[in-house]
Symmetry: C2
Subunit: 242 residues, 2 copies
């Protein structure tokens, strides 16, 4: 079972103060790039794996999705998602992505934002998703970039010549990483980017697009702190199809 860190008080409170929690999709700088990878959602049956507060589920329903199923492990997240959702096309349920079952060929689009790096057995999950998609269906998701999460102690370093660099170590050693972010002891599972892609291919999905996200010049001008995301890849956005 994946760690349910979102239901610890310190994490949930900290998470609720993040820009992306307050502003929703528009507070997530990668959202325009992720949205550009989505198929037109009108009429689609959508599953959102790790739906959080339901921002994407409500967006997809407003865009005309036929049905959106939002799944999350956190009772806290689901309670707020339900309280903030009025659209009858959206439904929420509790699910552990490490033990997920989905009906076969029931969805046109599987979506996930920054959740799969909490999943221990990605091979199992990719198989479940592939079988849950109809032929022609798509999986579009974001994860923390493995270069961002490989190190046992991730953090910026300043080189002797003043360059700001992101130090990588342990990249080839896949598995558990424990870091302190919003709360101590957050458990993530590091996989090389190649491993993630090969797992998708092994599950019968074709790789459509791999975006190692970086901000646009306009985003950096509006939010200068994003400039550091030009130096190292922090997130990767992937689209794959059945």
């Amino acid at each position: 079972m994946a760690q349910n860190i979102y239901d610890t008080d310190a994490f949930f409170e900290g998470y609720g103060r993040l820009r992306r929690s307050v502003l929703g999709l528009d507070g997530a700088p990668e959202w325009p790039a992720l949205r550009a990878m989505l198929p037109p959602t009108r009429g689609l049956r959508v599953v959102d794996l790790g739906c959080g507060f339901g921002w994407f589920a409500r967006w997809a329903a407003a865009e005309g999705a036929a049905r959106v199923l939002g799944l999350d492990l956190s009772e806290n997240m689901l309670a707020r998602a339900r309280a903030e959702t009025e659209d009858a096309a959206v439904e929420y349920a509790r699910a552990d992505l490490d033990a997920l079952d989905l009906p076969e060929a029931a969805f046109d689009l599987a979506y996930s934002s920054l959740a799969f790096h909490y999943v221990k057995d990605f091979g199992r999950l990719a198989g479940v998703i592939a079988r849950a998609l109809v032929p022609g269906g798509m999986l579009v998701f974001s994860i923390e970039h493995p270069i961002y999460m490989a190190s046992s102690r991730p953090g910026w370093m300043t080189a002797e010549d003043g360059r700001c660099t992101w130090p990588v170590d342990g990249y080839a050693r896949e598995g558990r990483r424990v870091t302190d972010w919003l709360a101590p002891g957050v458990v993530k599972h590091h996989r090389r980017l190649g491993t993630t892609l090969n797992t998708l291919v092994g599950a019968g999905l074709a790789i459509h697009r791999v975006e190692e996200w970086c901000p646009t010049p306009e985003q950096v001008a509006a939010q200068p702190s994003l400039a550091e995301e030009m130096e190292r890849p922090m997130m990767v956005l992937i689209a794959a199809g059945r």
Copy 2:
């Protein structure tokens, strides 16, 4: 046109002393992983893009390839390749990968070892390769990993706690990188891994496998200096199919 650094004396002499130049394929630690990604070569028409001393071309011919065309920009490399090759199935020719033309649907396998990072316009080259392959044909190649070559000044750093780390900067800034390796002023072209993969997909190739190479425990035991390749990805091996 790609830089012809292999025809400068200092580079060529240094390159000739590398383990992989002296021992051939068996001196390249990534060769077992790359070989495992190849289709059975018996009867195939093969093109080797950046063939160097012709080690792979001779291996493919010995494995029963019907024909092997080895292409390289360096007159020095081609002269030695020709001098060391007796197999009539192997032919060599001079070619600049940035200005390459190949006949359409003429090859079953395109292979390249550590050459494409010298190519400026990978989109053009990927299109030429895709058109040169028959349906069902494969492209298998290695490049320096973009995490290895992103920084303007690549090199190991020691963290305050003693960890050996590989500092990344400038990852999202694609383009020219000039480093000193064997000779001063070696020009390479940095592309994010996602860009390379998207370029292949855009050329009509399906991604089969992405190996961010690391040594096996047996390789590290036999050659302890390889241990550092567990910390950062140095090479990526890619298989794609038409």
